[in-house]
């Protein structure tokens, strides 16, 4: 199945649906050589009245214009504006509106920090224009570990019950509880993600624990409330690129909930699965001439594509993107060169002096996530002495900045965009 991944991917509705809804902003335009007038089904009178009666400073806008305005308001504000009046409530609750509003939703990174047996999350948002960011608290004070985000929904470990997974939208306060996996996995050292199948319009949780057991897939709202098992990516034990004693599966990189990519400690490939067809396959890594060191690369999502970030040397990092998943075509997006980088140090008194003016050793930089639709990359410093050191790199101007925030070794970063997706029962999540 062919599909296109773009920057602001339409996850919920396909392109034709978006065009149609916007085209309907003007209905029934009638022309006459003498007069032009636009007919709105209900609002024509108030429109003409406004122009005659300029005393009222604020007009009754046509409903379709109101739609176009509120669809651009961020979801967290709209949650409160639901109660303004019935018409706003109906608009905000409609599936089409929720999908179109999500298109405008701003990306943020959820940084998870472990606090004893619970987790806390901080949200990082890049400024639109300046090379700067804002931090805010996210979610509850004591949560389980957030594993994955899709269409504003978070897949999260239950903080109290081991082996239990929940799907929660913190904004609309909806929660779905998943049944336990057939494998009995405690969800501590496994790879799981939430995806959305565009072809069937279903939310799927894809889980892998011991690949001999295979993949376990759960469709939210399914009638039998059971996980389905499909074979894992390796048929024979010797096919595995990793050492069974030391390796454990980790959460895959999710490309907008469409395609999932797992690191398997291989110097040649990663394991990928398109959520639409549920078929695991190998995606071969780009071969830049030399052999790839399997410990020196990271995978992340960048502008709608899978990115392979390779620490070539202590002064060079190559950034590749998988431009075409089906045809496995990689393009080298950028090379971060120590000599070309503009390094600015923020005036942060908590930074120890000796690190202040020197560029980090690129070997120690681990790419975590991308921001601003792939224009900015976030790295953490591997060295535990630099506990809490992160670097933001802006690709276009080759600017590197360092900050200190509360991020530790086991901290995870989950890209997220909030939405108003809600449900009363899980079957509401299935297409009608």
């Amino acid at each position: 199945m062919r599909y296109e991944l773009k920057g602001n991917i339409l996850q919920y509705c396909n392109e034709e649906e978006e065009e149609e809804a916007l085209a309907n902003l003007i209905e029934n335009v009638i022309f006459d050589s003498e007069d032009i007038y636009t007919h709105y089904k209900t609002k024509e009178k108030s429109l003409l009245k406004y122009h005659k009666d300029k005393k009222t400073p604020l007009p009754n806008l046509p409903e379709l214009v109101i739609y176009n305005i509120i669809v651009k308001i961020p979801a967290d504000y709209l949650q409160k504006y639901r109660y303004l009046c019935k018409s706003w409530h109906d608009i905000i609750s409609s599936k089409m509106f929720i999908a179109q509003n999500f298109i405008h939703s701003k990306a943020e990174l959820l940084i998870l920090v472990k606090k004893r047996s619970y987790f806390k999350a901080t949200s990082l948002r890049m400024d639109e224009k300046e090379f700067d960011f804002k931090l805010d608290n996210f979610g509850l004070a004591r949560m389980g570990r957030i594993r994955s985000s899709c269409n504003g929904l978070l897949l999260i470990n239950d903080p109290k019950i081991e082996g239990k997974l929940n799907v929660i939208n913190f904004l609309t306060k909806c929660k779905a509880i998943l049944p336990q996996c057939p494998s009995g996995c405690p969800h501590k050292t496994c790879g799981v993600a939430l995806g959305f199948s565009l072809s069937t319009k279903e939310y799927k949780v894809v889980h892998i624990y011991a690949d001999g057991f295979g993949y376990e897939i759960f469709t939210l709202g399914c009638s039998d409330n059971k996980w389905k098992c499909i074979p894992g990516p390796f048929k024979e034990p010797h096919e595995r690129p990793f050492n069974l004693d030391t390796f454990h599966w980790s959460d895959p990189v999710s490309i907008h909930g469409q395609v999932l990519h797992w690191y398997v400690s291989s110097k040649e490939y990663v394991i990928s699965m398109d959520v639409n067809d549920e078929t695991p396959r190998k995606t071969y890594l780009p071969t830049p001439g030399k052999k790839i060191d399997r410990k020196r690369y990271s995978l992340l999502e960048m502008g709608g594509y899978l990115s392979f970030v390779y620490n070539v040397s202590n002064i060079k990092i190559d950034v590749w993107i998988l431009k075409d998943f089906a045809a496995q075509v990689w393009v080298k997006k950028h090379s971060i060169l120590s000599e070309s980088v503009n390094y600015t140090v923020s005036k942060n008194p908590s930074l120890p002096n000796k690190y202040e003016h020197s560029l980090p050793n690129f070997h120690k930089l681990v790419a975590l996530a991308s921001l601003r639709n792939g224009e900015v990359m976030m790295f953490k410093h591997e060295n535990s002495k630099n506990d809490g050191r992160i670097y933001l790199y802006e690709i276009k101007h080759m600017e590197l900045k360092t900050f200190k925030i509360n991020i530790k070794d086991e901290s995870k970063v989950v890209p997220h965009r909030s939405s108003l997706v809600c449900w009363k029962t899980e079957s509401d999540l299935l297409p009608r």
């Binding site: 429109l47 003409l48 806008l61 639901r82 009046c85 306060k173």
Partner: protein, 147 residues
Amino acid sequence: MALELKSSDNKIFEVEELVAVQSETIKSLVEDGCADNVIPLPNVDSKTLELVLDWCKNHVDMKLDEEKLKEYEDKFIEVDQAVLYDLLLAANYLNIKDLLNRACQKVADMLKGKTPEQIRETLNIVNDFSPEEEEEIRKENLWAFEE
């Protein structure tokens, strides 16, 4: 080719066809061959029409320079509320997609900082929920599970 547009207060504007057809409304008229005479626009006053035509002209001139165009758009939309609403209605009536989207975005940005009460005031919204109905909806949105 030049077209003549007449505002609600009877002012005539002469514009290049290429500029005027940014409005889908006017474009359809031209395509249907109805644009030979002066085109009356009874729902747009001269002040607003002048602004709209400036937008259209700059979109033709700066079509290839994305950065310059964005700078122009950001400056253009910095107007007071009354003018913004006039632009919104004109863009809607004349069906100029990019102006309509930009104006709606500006209004959205203005609204998002406000409390629900302020929004009701700004947009003249009447709360038609009965207290019982409102209570019902609010209950649905409470935390349904313990922290």
